[in-house]
């Protein structure tokens, strides 16, 4: 079954940038690396997929739901099944780590439980959150405010929230662009193990070598269109990789 099916998907911003006529599909259990230079449409695509913005043209079906047919309630339900990790602005700085992770499930809870959770977590919630934080190596920060954490630690909190939410589809928009190499490696490995547990993951990356190492499929964008869609091996051989590299030599990415 296709988790994501996009047909002629377009989202054009007033300045002409955006995404043009993209068609692709994602099956369950894939881990897809979205690559391409800045402004190529990677973020636009991911924001479309999580329902933050809506397509101006084309069809987008996610988990069997057609985006352009959903009402508010259905949209919220669908969003609850998708977890999103951004590059920045992932955590509420004034809340502690536990509450930020707790937010992952807030969409599915009653309003009363959410209010209760902001004041007091149940023992079960606390131990679940702590367990996830342990795999990310920040269990000692459970009740620390996120603004007191480093960028890399904040990003781990965001990943922890994605895991806690139990979402079957995880979207990550440059999750490792602003973290140290060790954290980047940790996050990517975690995504990989989540993928092995059956979760479908889309992540946009500037680090082509990481994408080739961790992803089962590469989706390359250039100027708002899909320039390549296929396996990492084919991507290395393709002209697209050379072209995209050639345009941005200063980034110093190397193809393995």
């Amino acid at each position: 079954m296709d988790i994501i099916l996009a047909e002629g998907l377009s989202k054009v911003y007033p300045n002409g940038q955006g995404l043009h006529n993209a068609s692709f599909s994602v099956s369950k259990g894939e881990i897809i690396g979205i690559v391409g230079p800045s402004g190529a449409g990677k973020s636009t695509l991911l924001r479309l997929l999580c329902g933050a913005i809506f397509p101006s043209e084309g069809n987008l079906t996610i988990l069997g739901q057609t985006m352009s047919h959903l009402n508010r309630q259905q949209l919220q339900t669908l969003r609850g099944k998708i977890a999103t990790v951004y590059q920045n602005f992932n955590v509420i700085p004034s809340l502690d780590v536990a509450r930020n992770v707790f937010m992952g499930k807030a969409g599915k809870m009653s309003f009363a439980s959410v209010v209760r959770g902001t004041f007091r977590l149940t023992a079960k919630e606390e131990s679940e959150i702590e367990e996830i934080l342990t795999t990310l190596g920040i269990e000692d920060k459970l009740y620390e405010r996120c603004q007191e954490l480093s960028g890399g630690q904040q990003q781990r909190v965001a990943v922890a929230r994605a895991i806690y939410s139990g979402a079957e589809l995880i979207l990550a928009d440059e999750p490792i662009a602003s973290v140290d190499p060790a954290t980047a490696e940790l996050i990517l490995q975690l995504f990989q193990s989540l993928n092995k547990q059956g979760k479908t993951i889309l992540l946009s990356l500037h680090q082509i070598d990481s994408a080739l190492k961790y992803c089962s499929k590469i989706l390359a964008f250039d100027h708002g269109t899909i320039a390549f869609n296929g396996s990492p091996e084919d991507y290395c051989k393709s002209d697209v990789s050379k072209k995209l590299m050639g345009n941005f030599p200063e980034r110093g990415v190397k193809v393995v």
Partner: protein
């Protein structure tokens, strides 16, 4: 070309504003020489001379203390009521942002309701704060009679208008990317309020509210002028009876009170900004 045009326009605007200032000054009889008029100087010396020494008879001080207490109480009750009414109004007065606020996603009925409530609450807030406190006090004195109660209502009405707008704007000004992050996690507007907007704005929220209390405190000292309770009542009476020594005591007390309130406000605000009082690091069970 464009640059030329705008700089000419700037000159025109400058000249117009200057003209308005000068005409307004003439129309309001602005003349510093009034201070040097012998008759006025005499009246002023009589007034300032009469201020000293301040009245300190125990009976009067007791009256002042009771009125002072009433003033503080008016401001406290009015502020709490204003928060209570301003919060829900501010939720509706928040401009819906983001692409999902489309007619299609929301459905026509809900969408119309949302925007209808938006304009309604904005209108109500504008009306509440557009009418000055003293005018509200006059209205409520007519409605519920003399005493501190109309004063409470007056400060509440005006305060609701101001706090409601401030809250709405504060909640709106939260980083939109964090709101989007919460929204794509499946949270609805109320949950976003609790887990995103309030945590992000809590210091500002408390700071605005404390500041509003300070303003209410100052306004409460004047309410007595129109018979709506507080220390202003006595100030009015003493002034009318030319009891300048009493006036002197009253002015000093009001000044001390305002300074005290300012100090308390400052303490509360720094405490909030240091986030000592924010419930967040509560360990569980």
């Amino acid at each position: 070309m464009k640059h030329e045009k705008s700089s000419i326009l700037n000159w025109v605007i400058t000249v117009v504003i200057l003209g308005i200032v000068i005409i307004s000054g003439i129309d309001t009889n602005f003349s510093p020489s009034e201070f040097l008029d012998p008759g006025n100087i005499k009246a002023m010396t009589r007034f300032t001379g009469g201020l000293w020494p301040p009245e300190t008879s125990p009976v009067f001080l007791h009256t002042v203390f009771e009125l002072l207490l009433e003033t503080v109480e008016i401001s406290i009750v009015a502020t709490v009521l204003a928060i209570f009414f301003a919060l829900p109004l501010s939720l509706f007065a928040m401009r819906p942002r983001g692409e999902e606020y489309s007619r299609r996603v929301y459905g026509s009925a809900l969408w119309s309701w949302r925007w209808g409530l938006y304009y309604l609450s904005r209108g109500v807030l504008a009306l509440l704060r557009g009418v000055p406190e003293l005018m509200w006090a006059l209205i409520f004195v007519v409605a519920v009679g003399l005493g501190p109660f109309p004063g409470v209502l007056a400060l509440m009405a005006h305060g609701t208008g101001i706090l409601g707008k401030l809250y709405a704007e504060m909640f709106e000004s939260v980083d939109q990317r964090l709101v989007e992050m919460s929204r794509v996690g499946g949270m609805d507007d109320l949950k976003i309020l609790v887990m995103t907007r309030i945590p992000l704005t809590l210091p500002v929220f408390l700071s605005y509210t404390v500041f509003r209390w300070e303003c209410n405190m100052r306004s409460a000292t004047l309410l007595g002028f129109v018979g709506a309770g507080g220390i202003g009542t006595q100030l009015m009476i003493s002034m009318k009876l030319f009891m300048y020594q009493e006036v002197s005591t009253l002015i000093i007390t009001i000044f001390l009170l305002v300074v005290l309130v300012e100090l308390i406000g400052q303490y509360l605000r720094t405490r909030v900004l240091d986030q000592k009082g924010v419930p967040c690091r509560t360990p569980t069970s």
